[in-house]
């Protein structure tokens, strides 16, 4: 049955979320929303990890394939760090420029 939630369905969900994230980065001007979109992409990647981890029958080394879980866990740490640092930078920029519009970040170009 094609409607059973199998590998394809989970991956497609991840892909759709990922691409929505890409579109968010492309289209939004507000740095915070751009940042949220990136979080969406990271989440999508996590979903892929967990999906594969689950759907993989087992690992030849004899242990259940948990690498995906580990990776997802680590990537949450990474995301947390990035968010913390990124929001700090956004705050500083707002303090200096009174805007967080990414299109106004064009002192550096050419």
């Amino acid at each position: 049955m094609m409607y059973n939630a199998g590998l394809f369905q989970y991956l497609s969900l991840a892909g759709v979320l990922f691409i929505l994230g890409v579109f968010g980065v492309l289209w939004r001007k507000n740095a915070i929303i751009v940042f949220m979109s990136i979080e969406l992409m990271l989440n999508a990647a996590n979903l892929v990890f967990v999906t594969f981890s689950r759907f993989m029958a087992s690992h030849p080394d004899g242990y259940v394939a948990m690498q995906g879980h580990m990776f997802a866990f680590m990537s949450m740490v990474v995301a947390a760090c990035e968010v913390a640092v990124g929001l700090a930078i956004i705050v500083v920029i707002f303090r200096n420029k009174k805007t967080i519009d990414v299109d106004d970040m064009n002192l550096l170009k050419g």
Binding site: F8, L20, P60, A72, C81, V83
Partner: protein, 240 residues
């Protein structure tokens, strides 16, 4: 077994409901509860993600992101990733989102945020490129459904090459035990067993990473400070 799902029965329920999906080699399946919940949360996740990208105010974006994260957590639970589901709620929906909302409030951005008007060329190029990415990715994913392999052609009854795929032999045993496996798979116990053995080193590295994040926030968010000669009284405002 003391595990998270003991405390959160919903997680266990979802995991069990979805266990069928992971059955390898299962033939005909009916549309089950796991499928239903998957589609439910998938629709919620996609819809709210879409709203994150298109919502006019950053506040609503942030709130929709919380919804997405919750839906994702549910989907993790469907995948028997109990631990991750909890972490997802705690870290993402809890900590990270609070941070987002906090910053949005701090910056007081409510008024100016309407959906932006961009140069049409940028929009067009972005659209084309993005759509191309969608098509290519979906195409590749679809291939997971459309296997045309000559290697193991024949019917689905044909025994897999066990020498080449040792995993398959084991998986056959797990078909029946998939419900049990679903309950055990991503428990805190199992995750921690791996996390503090094989993944001890990355775990330590992650603490290093967090240290970087902490220093970073301290350095960045500190207001500019004048250099003081030793002994001078610290100016409270300047220190921030």
């Amino acid at each position: 077994m003391i595990s998270l799902e003991s405390y959160i029965p919903a997680l266990a329920f979802l995991a069990e409901a979805a266990a069928d999906a992971v059955k390898t080699g299962a033939s005909e399946m009916n549309f089950g509860a796991g499928d239903f919940f998957f589609y439910l949360f998938a629709v919620i996740a996609v819809f709210s993600a879409f709203m994150v990208v298109t919502a006019e105010s950053p506040i609503s974006s942030a709130l929709f992101l919380v919804v997405t994260f919750f839906a994702m957590a549910a989907i993790y639970a469907l995948l028997s990733a109990h631990f991750l589901a909890v972490i997802q709620v705690l870290v993402y929906a809890g900590a990270i989102m609070v941070l987002f909302l906090f910053v949005i409030m701090l910056l007081d951005l409510r008024k100016e945020e309407l959906i932006e008007k961009r140069h049409w060329l940028l929009g067009a190029v972005g659209f084309v490129v993005g759509i191309a990415l969608v098509v290519l990715m979906v195409a590749s994913f679809r291939l997971s459904q459309n296997v045309e392999v000559a290697v193991k052609s024949g019917t689905d009854q044909e025994a897999p090459d066990a020498a080449k795929f040792p995993a398959i032999q084991e998986s056959a045993d797990q078909i029946d035990g998939s419900r049990i496996e679903a309950a055990r798979f991503g428990t805190t116990r199992r995750v921690s067993k791996h996390l503090f053995r094989e993944y001890l080193f990355p775990f330590e590295v992650a603490s290093l990473l967090l240290l970087v994040g902490i220093i970073g926030v301290v350095v960045i968010s500190r207001r500019r400070r004048r250099r003081r000669p030793p002994g001078e009284v610290i100016d409270e405002e300047g220190a921030s």
